[in-house]
């Protein structure tokens, strides 16, 4: 019944005539279960379709090159009418932001921004379990976790474990439950190394940034560049999003703001070669860090995921193994976040997650499920809209944030 036990059959089925496949599929589905049971399967291997990749990529490039698109000049393109408003954060950034303190130097700032949600966890647990450790209270906790997008499966398992432990350890008050809950959630988030990987002296450190559309990849890169620049490192931004209109312009604005250098190719260019050339440029300039931006892509689009795989392979051919392959996840994302993480992990072997748009209202509980299920650590969180709102991930703060609404 498991997919793995039927490997030979899978292979056989792959050779089937579409006609037979179609007929059998329809008949079996209709008759055996009245067409109702809907099986899910895991894909056997994501990398099998390599042969198709090049053609599909060509299609994408050829079809979507917009001939009328204005040329994007290499390196620091002039951004027409660079809005002053846009540059505001930049003006404020280097002088106004407190000097580097730890890691990314922003931990304290982050902490301060989140103070309003501090101790919320304690308060909400006391709220729920104040009248005793009852079934109602457990349900309330379930509700709180699900509302924070932790996900049904993860929540039910977590609460089940909490119930078991509270029985066994004779916990019968809110404080005890709070202690257990913190332990369990922190355990669920793992004790991973959350620092960003850095290379040796033999060339720039390379960070590849990936994710679905609209999660904030480019913005995260801009913030990362700001942090690196502030720490005195030279940064090259590689625009390998050659697909979305004005993507490299957007990255260019960030390069200008942060004093990084932009390396971009024309719209519609092969993203893998754009990444490759970005490395060339970064190396030639003796840059410390190269951050490569990629086009947003929905994780269920095989061709686009193959394309991303190629970007990474080509880049690695030139640069050796990358120091970091980040997946950017939007904190408002629901249960689909797991599917995203799984697909990107499979395609490009993601090493860490940057959780963006985290603030008082979106709680990003999905990363609990992601880390539990896939062991992918969250390394960075993007808190707000300003350059300085990027910080190392702090599990304790995060756990508190999960319960923000209950206390609010």
């Amino acid at each position: 019944m498991t997919a793995s036990s039927s490997m030979p059959l899978m292979l056989a089925a792959s050779a089937l005539d579409p006609v037979i496949t179609a007929v059998i599929a329809v008949v079996v589905l209709l008759l055996l279960g009245a067409g109702l049971a809907v099986g899910r399967r895991r894909s056997g291997s994501g990398d099998g379709a390599d042969g198709d990749t090049s053609t599909s990529l060509q299609e994408r490039t050829v079809d979507d090159v917009d001939a009328t698109r204005p040329e994007v000049e290499e390196e620091l393109p002039e951004v027409p009418d660079t809005p002053e408003a846009l540059l505001e954060p930049d003006e404020a950034a280097p002088p106004a932001v407190p000097p580097v303190e730890e890691d990314l130097g922003l931990g304290e700032r982050f902490r301060r921004r989140l103070t309003r949600t501090r101790n919320v966890l304690g308060a909400s647990v006391v709220d729920l379990f104040g009248k005793g450790v009852t079934e109602d209270a457990w349900e309330g906790l379930e509700e709180a976790l699900i509302t924070a997008d932790v996900g049904v499966t993860a929540t039910l398992e977590l609460v089940e474990e909490l119930k078991r432990r509270s029985r066994e350890e004779g916990v019968n008050d809110a404080d005890g439950v709070l202690r257990l809950l913190k332990e369990e959630l922190t355990a669920a988030l793992g004790e991973a190394d959350r620092s960003l990987g850095r290379g040796g002296d033999d060339g720039p450190t390379v960070w590849l940034v990936t994710g679905v559309n609209g999660v904030g990849k480019t913005t995260t890169i801009g913030k990362l560049a700001a942090v690196e620049r502030r720490d005195g490192r030279s940064v090259v931004l590689g625009a390998a999003d050659t697909f979305r209109a004005a993507a490299s312009e957007q990255l260019g604005v960030w390069a200008e703001r942060t004093g990084a250098e932009l390396v971009a190719k024309d719209a519609g260019a092969d993203p893998a070669s754009a990444a490759y050339e970005a490395y060339d440029a970064a190396e030639a300039r003796g840059a410390d860090v190269l951050i490569v931006d990629t086009a947003g892509r929905l994780h269920n689009k095989t061709q686009l995921m193959d394309e991303l795989g190629k970007v990474k392979r080509v880049l690695e051919k030139r640069a050796g193994s990358l120091e970091e392959t980040l997946l950017v996840l939007d904190a408002t994302t629901g249960q689909n976040g797991i599917a995203q993480a799984r697909a990107f992990l499979e395609a490009v072997d993601v090493t860490g997650i940057a959780l963006t748009k985290l603030d008082g209202s979106s709680r990003g509980g999905i990363v609990v499920a992601v880390q539990r299920e896939l062991g992918l650590p969250v390394k960075l969180v993007g808190l707000g809209e300003e350059v300085a709102d990027l910080a190392p991930f702090d599990p304790e703060l995060f756990v508190d944030g999960l319960f923000a609404e209950l206390a609010g």
Binding site: L32, G33, A85, T302, A343
Partner: protein, 489 residues
């Protein structure tokens, strides 16, 4: 892994099969599964509660005696309730009034406003309107540039006089600009915010106000990402309370998110979901279909329409016969031919494939013209009954040549059919074993059948070139969006 709601329902309802009315206990067990499925699909917690209560009222005492399969009855009820909650009929955008009519697009950062703007423009252009895009997102770097490029790509006017500063005057001027250029529809792209806050709400209100000063209609569309989680409700609610919107655009529906947030938003605000954005190309934008979305949220594809089709095609006896053939583990070419005939009565096979849940998009996109079916049919019809029952055993070179000649095909084609059918038979046997098989061994009953079906589905699916997208908790591809073939990228 996500286990299907349907098979869980089968299990929960197994004991009432053919036994009359649904009692409270059974309904509770069933509703528990439905509740979990809805939560997994990101339907808001509170909205789920309401839906479950309404379903409970409907289902307790429901007569399932006559139903072949009680879970069908339940799923139909759930499907109907979800469709109702999603708004029932497809709604449309009313743009009547003195020109130009104005559409304001608002939403969170990254929800897809700028992309939706040019798609909507193209959509309206195709309906005979003359739209103008207006760049009022003066915050995100290069957003204006992106909108300009979008406008160029779909061939509509664009008004983008500024890349920074206050967007309200831009919105105001755009009206007269539209009049000057003869545009009857103005589509305003606004800046997104991290979450709904005062600045966003004030700006949206201000833009709405100035855009309506000429007395034309102003429709505000709220763009929301299909992948959004529980937060969707808060976002939509505060926006609806403070600014108000007339419709929702559900973006990135070509992903595999089940999109439960759409239901939450509709339920909490009562505002219809008007459009779905289903791909990266400008034409991947369509009217929203509540009924299809309901199935998607349940993770069931267009199974409902498939069942209805099957019910109207197969008589009960035919259904039993086919089932027996499958379950016996001796599914011959003859049975295959019967089924082929039956399916042809249900309509074009390409369409049927598209309705199957759990099938890969790649499989759905395979070109199935009826000519291919005719050739297969011709080959089988050129066989003797004995050959149809045991092709491997009796077919020698001479017979193969005869069949090829008789069917107007080639020996290669005959060989291929025979070989592939043998592979398929093996698979069917294994599936039959799962389902209870001959002599009633195995699990039997609905559960066993469901298991068998899953297996077949797994194998069929796995045979196609697939990618990571096939995995995960998400819904099934190609249900709501039904991606068109031959599109670039």
């Amino acid at each position: 892994m996500f286990d299907s709601l349907a098979s869980k329902l089968e299990a929960a309802l197994d004991r009432v099969k053919g036994r009359g009315r649904l009692d409270e206990k059974t309904v509770d067990a069933t509703l528990k599964e439905i509740r979990l499925a809805l939560l997994e699909a990101d339907v808001n917690f509170k909205v789920v509660k309401g839906i479950i209560e309404r379903l409970r009222e409907q289902l307790v005492g429901e007569d399932v005696a006559k139903a072949l399969n009680p879970s069908q009855t339940v799923i139909k009820a759930v499907d109907a309730e979800l469709t109702r909650a999603l708004g029932g009929e497809s709604a449309s955008l009313d743009l009547k009034g003195p020109a130009p009519s104005v559409i304001v697009l608002a939403g969170l950062q990254g929800s897809g406003k700028t992309t939706a703007a040019s798609k909507l423009a193209k959509h309206l252009k195709a309906k005979g309107r003359n739209p103008m895009l207006v760049a009022c997102d003066l915050q995100r770097p290069a957003a204006v540039e992106q909108l300009k490029l979008g406008a160029e790509r779909v061939g509509v006017h664009v008004y983008a006089p500024a890349t920074s500063g206050d967007p309200v005057p831009v919105a105001k001027e755009s009206i007269s600009k539209a009049r000057d250029t003869g545009c009857d529809t103005v589509i305003i792209d606004t800046a997104g915010r991290l979450h709904v806050d005062e600045v966003l709400l004030d700006q949206a209100s201000a833009i709405k106000d100035v855009a309506g000063e000429h007395g034309g209609v102003v429709r505000t569309l709220f763009v929301i990402d299909a992948m959004i989680g529980q937060e969707a409700v808060n976002v939509a609610k505060s926006f609806a309370d403070r600014v108000g919107f007339d419709g929702v655009v559900l973006s990135k529906l070509d992903g595999d998110a089940r999109g439960g947030a759409a239901l939450s938003v509709r339920e909490v605000t009562g505002t219809p979901i008007l459009f779905a954005s289903v791909g990266e190309a400008p034409e991947d934008f369509e009217a929203f279909h509540p009924d299809r979305m309901a199935s998607r949220i349940l993770g069931m594809g267009d199974v409902m329409s498939l069942i209805e089709k099957a019910e109207s095609t197969y008589t009960e006896q035919e259904q039993r016969q086919a089932e027996e053939a499958l379950m016996s583990g001796e599914f011959t070419l003859e049975d295959f031919l019967d089924q082929l005939q039956m399916l042809k009565r249900m309509g074009p096979l390409q369409g049927l494939m598209g309705m199957l849940p759990g099938m890969d998009k790649q499989l759905k996109d395979v070109d199935l013209d009826d000519g291919q079916f005719d050739r297969v049919e011709a080959i089988i019809r050129s066989m003797t009954p004995q050959e149809r029952r045991d092709p491997k055993g009796v077919l020698n070179g001479r017979r193969r040549k005869r069949i090829a000649a008789g069917s107007g095909t080639t020996v290669t084609e005959v060989n291929r059919l025979v070989k592939q059918f043998a592979e398929m038979q093996k698979m069917m046997k294994q599936a039959a074993k799962q389902a209870g098989g001959p002599g009633g061994k195995g699990k039997g009953g609905a559960k066993g059948q469901a298991a068998a079906m899953r297996q077949v589905q797994q194998q069929l699916g796995a045979g196609t070139p697939s990618g990571p997208g096939a995995t995960g908790l998400g819904g099934f591809q190609g249900l709501q969006p039904a991606p068109k073939k031959g599109k670039g990228r």
